[in-house]
Amino acid sequence: MNQVLTAAPLSHYVLLSSILFSIGVLGVLFRRNAIIIFMCIELMLNAVNLLLAAFSVHHSDPSGQVFVFFIMAVAAAEVAVGLAILIMIYRNTGSINIETLSNIRH
């Protein structure tokens, strides 16, 4: 066994990331405020980032951490566009409750 992961075994990192991802999924299903749903998506992205970094250190391969860097960049772009869309929706409907957005499909 290599001694690169000093803090905890790899399975604990996987467990931690799974719990954080599940909390993010729970928030997306649980809440109706669109901004909080957005924040839970960020939480899921961070769980995946943490797991990528842990596997990267486990394999002693920097590519995984470069991918985390790219995921952060894409997340920043996504948040900028998504919050602009939310502001537009709020301006048109006066609410960001996702229940009121279900009339988009009609």
Binding site: V4, L16, L26, N49, A53, S60, D61, A73, M88, R91
Partner: protein, 167 residues
């Protein structure tokens, strides 16, 4: 010593993540998410990935969460404006997330036995190694992400702009 740090930071991250979902006030949710991101940055430092920790704090706590807070203040939603959800919805959401967690935990049993492909190297998360990989192997994705940023910036401005035609 670092083991205790790992479990402490894990507890903090999960605790604050749960508070993000459970707190009524959206502004409190944003603040708890910032604390959760700081504990994840602590995890990166424990992994000896200093560059990721710094970028994580700068990008998430510094830029993205400030954007969230700004939008919340702009919409004047810093109070509990959410109608209560039916109990069937809550039970269904909790069940779905719990089953997902069960599937994840059932599928990780062999994670510790995974072989590490390369020579053990503690300096993999330092800026020198990451920069060499980023500018040699990932040059094209790096350039493409700059185009993505440009498109996102133009898109955000276009979407956020008021339409004069409809007025």
């Amino acid at each position: 010593m670092t083991q205790y740090f790992f479990y402490f930071l894990s507890f903090l991250a999960i605790f604050f993540a749960a508070l993000v979902v459970l707190s009524k006030n959206p502004v409190h949710s944003v603040l708890y998410l910032i604390l959760c991101f700081f504990s994840i940055a602590g995890h990166y430092i424990l992994l000896n990935a200093q560059f990721l920790a710094a970028v994580h704090i700068i990008v998430y706590a510094g830029a993205i969460m400030v954007l969230f807070l700004f939008v919340l203040m702009l919409m004047n939603l810093n109070r509990d404006s959410e109608p209560p959800k039916s109990w069937q919805g809550k039970v269904a959401a909790t069940l779905a997330a719990g089953l997902l967690l069960l599937v994840f935990t059932a599928s990780i049993k062999g994670a510790d036995a995974l072989p590490s492909g390369n020579q053990p190297d503690n300096t993999v998360g330092l800026l020198t190694n990451l920069g060499k990989t980023l500018y040699n192997d990932f040059m094209l994705p790096f350039e493409v992400s700059s185009i993505l940023f440009l498109v996102a910036m133009v898109g955000a401005v276009m979407i956020g702009k008021r339409e004069e035609v409809s007025e």
